[in-house]
């Protein structure tokens, strides 16, 4: 750590920095360098380094006095001070009085804690300032080391290998043709059993049998399944019609169960 804290790195590489306070040693110069500080903490750090001791052993009281003196003299010289320098001055004045006056048990945080906090912040800022200087002092590409001046460059040309097979080609053409062919709707003639023929068939069959009969038994025997469906539908409607006319009654034990039908004697 001492290596970091003691290193005068701040002055080593400042040519990298613009508008740097060059850590002037004589007071006259110091008061003209106000623009050079990066805020009050920066000024405090520079003042602290003038104590030439490890930041961990710095005298906070001495530092506060230096800061306050600096601000007073800057004001006397009518230098324009940014507000945050004055805020810091007020805070440090408070800190100083708290550190010097008899201890107030209620104070929280305690002045010692505030002083320690300031010290820790200065250590961290100092550490980063040194780290920055050491970083800039490294062998930097383009300043100390150089890449090849005229590299040939690598080029990767992407080439597409398109894939398509015979079936996909022929199928695609078929689909184009199918999609764009004129659409014609053909309505085919279907075998149907008309309602009239179903009515006459069901009513005539009811006349000869007075027992319950399933609706399916009224259908004409036929092989064609499409005619069977038509006959079933027509016979069902015929049964409803006969029931409405009071010529038949309908019974179904359960949903989707067999539909039973019997005639009513007039």
């Amino acid at each position: 750590m001492s290596e970091l804290d003691d290193s005068p790195a701040l002055t080593l590489f400042e040519d990298e920095w613009q508008g740097v306070a060059t850590a002037p040693q004589d007071d006259a110069a110091l008061y003209l360098e106000l623009d050079g500080w990066e805020g009050p903490l920066d000024l405090l750090l520079d003042l602290a380094r003038r104590q030439k001791v490890d930041l961990r052993r710095i005298s906070i009281l001495e530092l506060v006095d230096q800061y306050l003196t600096y601000i007073e003299r800057a004001e006397a010289l009518r230098l324009e001070l940014a507000a945050d320098y004055l805020v810091m001055a007020a805070w440090l004045a408070y800190l100083k009085s708290a550190l010097l006056l008899p201890r107030d048990e209620q104070a929280d945080p305690s002045p010692e804690e505030l002083a320690l906090r300031l010290q820790l912040r200065l250590q961290r800022l100092a550490a980063m300032r040194d780290a920055a200087a050491r970083l800039l002092a490294r062998d930097r590409l383009g300043r100390d080391t150089f890449l090849r001046g005229a590299p040939e460059g690598l080029r990767v040309d992407r080439k597409n290998n398109w894939q398509c097979d015979w079936f996909a080609l022929v199928q695609a053409y078929g689909q184009v043709k199918a999609r764009t062919a004129p659409v014609v709707h053909m309505v085919r003639d279907r075998m149907v059993m008309t309602l009239d023929s179903a009515l006459s068939r069901v009513s005539s069959m009811l006349g000869v049998n007075l027992d319950w009969m399933e609706l399916r038994d009224f259908l004409p025997p036929h092989a064609d399944p499409r005619l069977k469906r038509s006959a079933l539908a027509s016979s069902f409607v015929a049964a409803l019609e006969l029931a409405r006319l009071g010529k038949a009654e309908l019974q179904q034990e359960q949903t989707f169960g067999p539909l039973l039908l019997r005639g009513i004697k007039a």
Binding site: R148, R155, V156, D157, N160, N161, W166, V170, V176, K177
Partner: protein, 206 residues
């Protein structure tokens, strides 16, 4: 490898970092007047068998990739890509109707055809521009290439199945039916599904 002497290292670094070939005199000037002839000869020998070589061209020196490795500078990476459905349709239309203009392709497809689709087919080497149609606007017309025939294993365009054959193979069925058959939707087209399966088997055997 032993450490080369400082002058050799300096010449090596100077030429490496140089943006242009340098004459021996220019290198010497850059290095404060040292005699660099021997260093150049030594470097040339050192690098002679490596992947990088020091060469002299017109009295000026530079490093370059070894000639036998020049292919590394420009690599081709091949990517296998499946032709999109749209591109396949356009290719089929060109094959069946060539020579054909883009407007004709669009009217056959019933869909606008992106310029990129034809570009892909030309990049694949299957379609080319064969001239212009002698009608107002003189549209460009496209036809297939010999590579097209080779790729699809055809000896000539006459090998492409005719409309009747396509119909017999069920390839003219509307897309929905073919889809239904493929998905084996019950009740809709049992018989069709069966025949479609047979067809695609046949087609695969081709």
């Amino acid at each position: 490898m032993t450490r080369p002497d400082d002058l050799v290292r300096a010449v090596e670094a100077t030429l490496f970092a140089a943006t242009e070939p340098m004459s021996a005199e220019a290198i010497s000037t850059h290095l404060g007047g040292a005699d660099v002839k021997a260093a150049l000869a030594q470097l040339q020998a050192t690098y002679s068998e490596r992947g990088v070589q020091l060469v002299e061209r017109g009295r000026r020196w530079h490093f370059q990739t070894a000639p036998d490795l020049a292919h590394l500078l420009r690599r081709e990476r091949e990517e296998v890509r499946r032709l999109s459905r749209a591109a396949t349709e356009v290719l089929a239309i060109v094959a069946y109707h060539e020579p054909v203009s883009r407007a004709e392709i669009e009217s056959i497809r019933g869909v606008q055809t992106a310029k990129g689709t034809l570009d892909v087919l030309m990049e694949a080497g299957w379609v080319r521009i064969v001239g212009r149609r002698d009608v107002p606007g003189r549209p460009v017309i496209y036809a297939t290439t010999p590579e097209f025939l080779t790729h699809f294993g055809l000896s000539s365009r006459r090998d492409l199945p005719g409309i009747d054959e396509l119909r017999a193979a069920g390839l003219l069925d509307p897309v929905e039916d073919a889809l239904a058959a493929a998905m084996d939707v019950p009740g809709q087209a049992e018989g069709e599904a069966e025949s479609a399966a047979t067809e695609s088997d046949e087609a695969e055997h081709d």
